[in-house]
């Protein structure tokens, strides 16, 4: 610690003159050491020992389980679609390495582009650099398909950070969730890369292939991949379908989901596979236990709001029950509890809806906010054939309405307390 402190102390005089360098310096210094800011002026202001930076880092820590699982799962799904290594622990490290090579460039691009823009605006406005983006920079890779082209990712992140965050005034001022804005941009701008059946398994955007032009044979020599007949890496084994559970459910109900089989034998979307996340999907959202670990951590440290999580789950379950009661087509008849493990419900609930900046601020508001997300998300998922999944759109929609919800709660409070006076 002393060593790092010395480095910062030596650097400070050099950085002081240039506003950009000083902003960067300040950002890193407060990242390593809790700043000893005290409240000035009259009155008692108690500062919590945990400041914004520490809060943000806890969320990043909570995401690590999803990240590690995602790395392995990218490799596992890739080899599975080629008909190789169906066992879970078979070639464990090869799968892990494949996933890491796929995921690390995504993380690097997400952070370099986002933090670059963030640093630029912070220096220009004389703000301190906050770690708000570290969370977005970790969330964004986890909600992307593993095969997302890096340039698209860079454009989406630039769009999200500039339009959704900096235009509104930077960290803490954004109306929309940054990570979801990046995703929704991709969803509408490049729909083929982020929705449908073809994008959830990594094939040809592997970094080795992209950057170094490594051919299949080299990869094979390294034990990275087997080259199937007729082409490298893009040819899947016969009978393999990229259909997602929700796509199948929309077409044929729960039966169609459980009937999907892998070419290597066994059900593709059995309940246990869905729960453990051994399915194709966005990088971080498949593994429910990993998300639950993060959820417990966030609830224990009181960073995420349990009210939002609970009310969102309630909203989804009640809407699911309502759909079951209506039951006029196969998708409506899918039992409501399976909706909780299909798609990205849990990830959206734990990490997206609970974003403290964009969610409702009042406690009653949080209940309404969460419940409405649960309801609208289910409606979009089940009733709207244009969008396969609803949570992203539902959360962004409610983000917009959160200040309005709060406004009415405030007015209600004022009215109630006024009547006490009168």
């Amino acid at each position: 610690m002393k060593f790092i402190r010395n480095i910062f102390d030596n650097l400070e005089p050099k950085m002081k003159d240039n506003p950009f360098l000083h902003a960067v310096y300040d950002g890193f210094e407060t990242f390593f050491f809790t700043p000893n800011h005290t409240t000035s002026g009259p009155g008692v202001h108690i500062r919590d020992g945990i400041d914004l930076k520490r809060t943000m880092v806890f969320v990043v820590l909570a995401l690590q389980a999803c990240l590690l699982f995602g790395m392995w799962n990218i490799g596992h799904q890739h080899y599975l679609s080629l008909g190789l290594y169906p066992g879970l622990t078979e070639s464990f490290f090869t799968k892990f390495l494949f996933g890491a090579l796929q995921l690390i460039p995504i993380i690097i691009v997400a952070n370099v582009v986002g933090l670059g823009i963030e640093f630029y605006f912070a220096a220009k406005r004389g703000h301190a650099i906050e770690e708000g983006y570290l969370v977005s920079g970790m969330l964004i890779p986890l909600i992307m398909p593993p095969d997302i082209p890096l340039w698209m990712l860079a454009i989406a992140i630039a769009f999200a950070v500039i339009i959704a965050k900096e235009a509104f005034g930077g960290t803490g001022m954004n109306i929309l969730n940054i990570a979801l804005t990046a995703r929704v941009f991709l969803f509408f701008a490049y729909p083929l890369e982020i929705s449908g059946e073809g994008c959830w398994i990594a094939y040809d955007y592997n970094i080795l292939h992209q950057l170094f032009g490594m051919e299949g044979s080299t990869m094979q020599a390294l034990g990275m991949s087997a080259v199937p007949e007729g082409g490298w890496m893009t040819r899947v084994v016969d009978g393999f379908s990229g259909a997602t559970p929700l796509g199948l459910a929309a077409a044929g109900g729960w039966e169609a989901v459980t009937n999907a089989t892998l070419p290597t034998g066994g059900a593709q979307y059995s309940v246990s596979n869905l729960f453990w996340g051994i399915i194709p999907g966005s990088i971080g959202e498949t593994c429910k236990p990993a998300i639950i670990i993060g959820m417990i951590f966030l609830l224990f440290t009181r960073i995420a709001s349990w009210r939002i999580m609970l009310s969102m789950a309630l909203g989804a379950v009640l809407t699911g029950l309502l759909f079951n009661a209506l039951g006029s087509n196969a998708f409506l008849e899918v039992p409501f509890y399976y909706h909780l493990i299909m798609g990205s419900f849990l990830f959206a609930m734990v990490y997206m809806a609970t974003d403290p900046v964009t969610a409702a601020q009042t406690n009653t508001g949080k209940w309404i906010y969460g419940f409405m997300i649960g309801f609208i998300g289910m409606v979009v998922r089940v009733l709207n054939p244009a969008y396969p999944e609803g949570w992203m759109l539902a959360i962004l929609f409610l983000n917009v309405f959160a200040p309005t919800i709060d406004h009415f709660i405030y007015q209600q409070n004022i009215k109630r307390r006024l009547s006490r006076v009168a």
């Binding site: 082209p149 340039w151 339009i163 235009a167 509408f188 701008a189 490049y190 083929l192 890369e193």
Partner: protein, 229 residues
Amino acid sequence: MSEVKDIVVEKVAKEPLFSNKNKALLKDPLDDNNPITVQVLGICSALAVTSQVYPSLVMSVCVIFVCAFSNLSISLMRNIMPGRIRMIVQLIVIAALVTIVDIFLKAFAFDVSKQLSVFIGLIITNCIVMGRLEAFAMGNKPWPAFLDGIGNGIGYGVILIIVGALRELFGAGTLLGYPILNAEDGSWLASIGYTHNGIMAATPAAAMFIIGILIWIQRSRKPQLVDIS
């Protein structure tokens, strides 16, 4: 008294056709008083017709025509029409001009007329036209009013063409129909994985973002335009 009057008459008679004041009428709407980015008028059609450059261009020409000649006619009539019915008169003038434009387009540019469809007719409700009539033509002489109409039409058109060009270039890879960014199968851009942007091509939301960013750039360049109310 009579002396003062003489001086005024002399001054008016001497004012050249393109005096500085009249030039400003043409120039101001291009930047400092742009109908779209500063007055925030005419957004509806700016979002709707700007998916390509050509329709934006035609739309701009139509609005310039309608704006200029409605300003001219209303300015000519401004002293003889009763104030209470001025809105009706203005609307009739605009509607007549829009009908002329509409019929002209149907006769000579049927394709683009179909593409612009209802938006030509909706020039009647374009706030820029009505706004300039109320704000300028009702209180100014015909020649300045005519210039003001042209200036505002061009100010509107410039933004339309910028938005149309960006949307066509990144949404479809063409400009005025000529391929610039060719991303068809087998092209170089396709081989490095380039795809056209669906937001730019299909949704008017792109136009809203572009106009928003234009406003952002303009106001950070000229802080006096920032209006915090």
